[in-house]
């Protein structure tokens, strides 16, 4: 009862916290018109710009034709076969490598920095602001910085490598190109993971952690056996947010590599973009549609995995 009803509505309820049962609402509106009028804008826009296009993309992935062609011909799974014949399989592999690397770096760096910033030491609160800078400034502009950093001879990376007598790196090397887009993605996004973990750390029940201190545990034991397990639901959610973000990486690929060299950084999304918009007449909208459907299925699977994992993790904690 502490806090009373006033406090209860003053706090936004979180999506990261365990779900609470919604209490039944007393209002029965006799005229439903207000409710429908309030819901209509979001509903209309959703149907027009998400649901209808999704139906179009699924349907058309089964047809052959050009982007403004009116006589589409049913083609079965031909477009899907064409996707794999035009480097789509490799794009899915690139997507997997990119996403795994991106999520791993973001999660590890994110929780490490969050744990440090969570310590009750003077000055750490002010540093927090630094980590949000890459998130809020235009990614195209910061991707240009990566472009400059990787310049032969004069870029910072190559200056350092030359100074220690190591060979130069360039974005035309497939491995370096993949590392470049992963490092940019992680640099740009990991501040979000820091912020989310900082918020999650604040929700840990203080009495449990303090009881462990009284019981003589050291800091590592408290982290390993108490704090990290308690954070598991949030970790699952943050991992899914990061994964969905990773699947949609686009800006740095556009700026740094344009999918090259030789398709080494062409993710599934970049494949869709290239087939539909990037290659001019060389691309195929049917291929783009088929790959978009594959991308959609992957996103759905990740989201379903979230529901399952978060649910299991919250039960395990309770």
């Amino acid at each position: 009862m502490k806090g009373g009803p006033v406090k209860r509505w003053a706090r936004p309820r979180s999506s990261i916290a365990p779900p609470k049962p919604t209490r039944p609402r007393g209002i029965r509106l006799r005229t439903w018109s207000t409710a429908y009028a309030f819901v209509l804008p979001v509903l209309g826009l959703t149907v027009l710009f998400s649901v209808v296009p999704l139906v179009m993309v699924i349907r058309r992935s089964l047809y052959k034709g050009n982007i403004f062609d009116t006589n589409l011909k049913f083609a079965g799974l031909d477009n899907y076969r064409a996707v794999f014949a035009t480097g789509g399989g490799h794009s899915l592999l690139v997507t997997l490598i990119y996403t795994v690397g991106f999520v791993a770096v973001c999660m590890i760096a994110g929780i490490a920095v969050a744990l440090l910033l969570d310590l009750p030491l003077p000055g750490l609160g002010a540093v927090r602001a630094l980590f949000i800078i890459p998130l809020v400034v235009p990614a195209v502009a910061t991707a240009f910085i990566w472009f400059a950093l990787f310049q032969p001879q004069t870029g910072l990376f190559n200056r350092v490598l030359t100074a220690v007598d190591l060979p130069q790196v360039t974005l035309s090397d497939p491995t370096i190109a993949v590392l470049a887009i992963i490092s940019f993605g992680a640099w740009q996004f990991f501040g979000e993971v820091v912020i989310l973990y900082l918020a999650a750390l604040k929700t840990l029940p203080r009495d449990v952690v303090e009881a462990a201190v009284v019981d003589g545990s050291n800091a590592w034991q408290r982290l390993r056996y108490i704090r990290l397990p308690l954070l598991r639901p949030q970790t699952a959610l943050i991992a899914v947010i990061s994964t969905l973000t990773g699947l949609q990486a686009f800006t740095q690929i556009f700026v740094l590599t344009n999918g090259g060299p030789n398709g080494a950084t062409q993710t599934a999304l970049y494949y869709v973009y290239n087939q539909a918009f990037g290659l001019g007449a060389g691309g195929s909208v049917g291929n783009a549609d088929a790959m978009a459907v594959i991308l959609f299925v992957i996103s759905i699977l990740v989201t379903v995995a979230q529901v399952v994992v978060v649910g299991r993790a919250s039960r395990a904690v309770v």
Binding site: T22, S50, M56, V136, G191, E192
Partner: protein, 274 residues
């Protein structure tokens, strides 16, 4: 909690390394933006500019219509942010406060519909906009971005825990439904609206993929897309001007974000605070 001084030193050291990792690309941009072309292409030139070429900023500014890009970005961000916040708020309010046929199914429909990733539907959306004749137009840029799943979901969560008796007594006093929403419940959500508006505005300001596929006219480009045109014009050689252009794009956002720091952080962890 007591922390011994060797541990403190280690903590500050680790935080300093992390902060440096975040900052050094931005510092590199800052230094390169003021170098001469000779210093840029000379690998033996010092890392700090031998002479600070402030005129690089002016040269970059005149090499591309940055003024136009900024105006377009401001129009786009303001319109889509106001739209997303208002449509999300009224829909979330309705889903939380009213009982009406189809409420649950419409809510989950909206939620799953809006969670379809934009890249998945990018091709048909561009086709739809082409059918409307909206390619290369402000309405083509803005209208598809007027609704957001996040806003609708968050406001529903928020209003579910808002007191209902306020509405009931206002209703007895004869207030209209719109007035109850606007005068009583909208102000309650003010802190969340502030955080949501800030983060949504920044996201829209930095949006790249959508404007890229909907516009190709320079007069309609947003700042991000404008920068890529700028890159092409420089033929990939004048990194000092490229960095000066990036600086022009980064600094205004940085200043705003620093002043609204609390709101930005609140926006980033929206839905993660308890």
């Amino acid at each position: 909690m007591h922390i011994s001084w060797p541990v403190r030193v280690l903590v500050y050291f680790a935080v300093a390394i992390a902060a440096f990792a975040v900052l050094f690309p931005l510092l590199w941009m800052l230094l390169s933006a003021f170098k001469s072309q000779a210093d840029i292409i000379n690998p033996d030139a010092p890392i700090f500019p031998t002479h600070w070429h402030w005129s690089n900023i002016r040269d970059a500014w005149t090499a591309a219509p940055f003024g136009r890009f900024f105006i377009n970005t401001a129009i786009f961000s303001a319109a889509t942010t106001v739209g997303q916040v208002i449509t999300g708020m009224i829909a979330g309010y309705a889903f939380a406060m009213f009982t009406f046929p189809g409420r649950r199914i419409l809510f989950y429909g909206v939620l799953s519909g809006l969670m379809i990733p934009f890249p998945v539907v990018i091709v048909p959306v561009v086709e739809l906009l082409a059918d409307f004749g909206w390619i290369d137009s402000y309405q083509g840029l803005i209208v598809p971005n007027l609704a957001s799943a996040l806003g609708c979901f968050l406001y529903r969560q928020f209003f579910l825990s808002a007191p209902v008796d306020l509405a009931e007594s206002a209703r007895l006093d004869g207030a209209s439904e719109w007035r109850i929403f606007w005068s009583i419940y909208r102000p309650l959500a003010q802190p969340m609206t502030a955080a949501l508006t800030t983060i949504v505005f920044l996201q829209n300001w930095n949006n790249f993929l959508f404007p890229l596929v909907v516009t190709s006219k320079e007069s309609l480009m947003l700042i991000s897309q404008g920068l890529t045109i700028f890159q092409g014009q420089l033929l990939g050689t004048q990194y000092n001007l490229l960095m000066a252009g990036s600086l022009i794009a980064v600094v205004p956002v940085l200043i705003v974000a620093m002043f609204a720091q609390r709101r930005v952080v609140a926006g980033l962890m929206i839905g993660a605070t308890r």
